[in-house]
């Protein structure tokens, strides 16, 4: 990876001339996540795995319990077998941190703001999902994904509750990140 992906620093990373995006791979697809949503990238090794519906695992950062979930089911995609364990992208969701797991966090890029264009209405209607509404046209066409909108408020709340239940169970030993 290039560009110091590990810690996006919580800043709104819009450059003077462009918009900064984190490029990730999830199954057969590559997406760009606005870095304004991203609070960091972690190795999947930092996540305590759980065998629960939707809740892939848990991690801790600065004493905060962070639920981890995969985007693949929401994208109707399979996890790439070549990815290894993958990465977790920390995003702000409903006032707390959430970890969305991807096959690979690939690169930080900056694109001209004018290169970001909306997806056609026909496509948005066909996909029937929030969080996929625009793309950037530079050397390649990259879909811009808002993972929090893709998940939705209810799912995020469910993940937070599930994480709280899991951490209080005997099956999870607490760690500090």
């Amino acid at each position: 990876m290039t560009g110091g992906i590990g810690d996006c620093g919580g800043r709104l990373w819009d450059g003077a001339d462009g918009v900064r995006l984190l490029v990730v791979r999830c199954g057969a697809f590559r997406f760009a996540l606005p870095t304004g949503l991203v609070r960091g990238v972690v190795s999947a090794e930092e996540i305590v795995p759980l065998d629960l519906p939707d809740l892939e695992g848990l991690m801790w950062r600065d004493g905060e319990l962070i639920p981890a979930t995969r985007l693949h089911p929401l994208l109707h995609s399979s996890r790439s077998k070549e990815s290894g364990d993958g990465h977790g992208v920390l995003v702000h969701a409903e006032g707390r941190l959430l970890c969305v797991m991807v096959d690979e966090a690939m690169d930080l890029v900056e694109v001209p703001a004018e290169s970001i264009v909306p997806l056609p209405e026909l496509v948005k209607r066909a996909l029937k999902v929030d969080g996929l509404e625009s793309a950037t046209l530079t050397d390649e066409l990259l879909l811009i994904l808002d993972p929090v909108r893709l998940l939705g408020t209810e799912r995020v709340a469910t993940l937070v509750r599930a994480a709280a239940v899991a951490v209080n169970s005997d099956s999870v030993s607490e760690g500090r990140g």
Binding site: H76, V117, L122, R125, A126, K128, L141, L143
Partner: protein, 142 residues
Amino acid sequence: MLRLIAFSLDGEWYGLEVSHVRGIEPESQISPVPRAPAWLLGVFNLHGTILPAIDLRPLLGMADRKKNDATLLLIFHWEGNLAALRVDSVDEMYELPRSSLEPQLATGSADPTELLLGQVRVRDRVIGVIDPDRLVAALVEE
């Protein structure tokens, strides 16, 4: 007069009125999108605009077919929007009396009358005339 651009899909002929056609392009890089219905091949960049690439085969009851070197994208518009149909080939433009449009389809494929204005007969061909408005309505119902 009825002015049609005729195109083929697996040996069957269909047409769009010229007034709806914006161009013909060789198929370039189409980016797949997640959760796409069967008819949505993906999206691509045409001169700075993102267009959906549509495969008519699922709507016409045809078998899936991979892109080959000769595949073309027929760019069409409806209600201010642009989209592209993946087609095998594009034939000449036909100019016919509008009275030659017949209401019944007889191409041997699944009967997609909900997509068609009707059909015309030109020499040895039967050409199903697609209505873009009906096509788009069918797509969003999928």
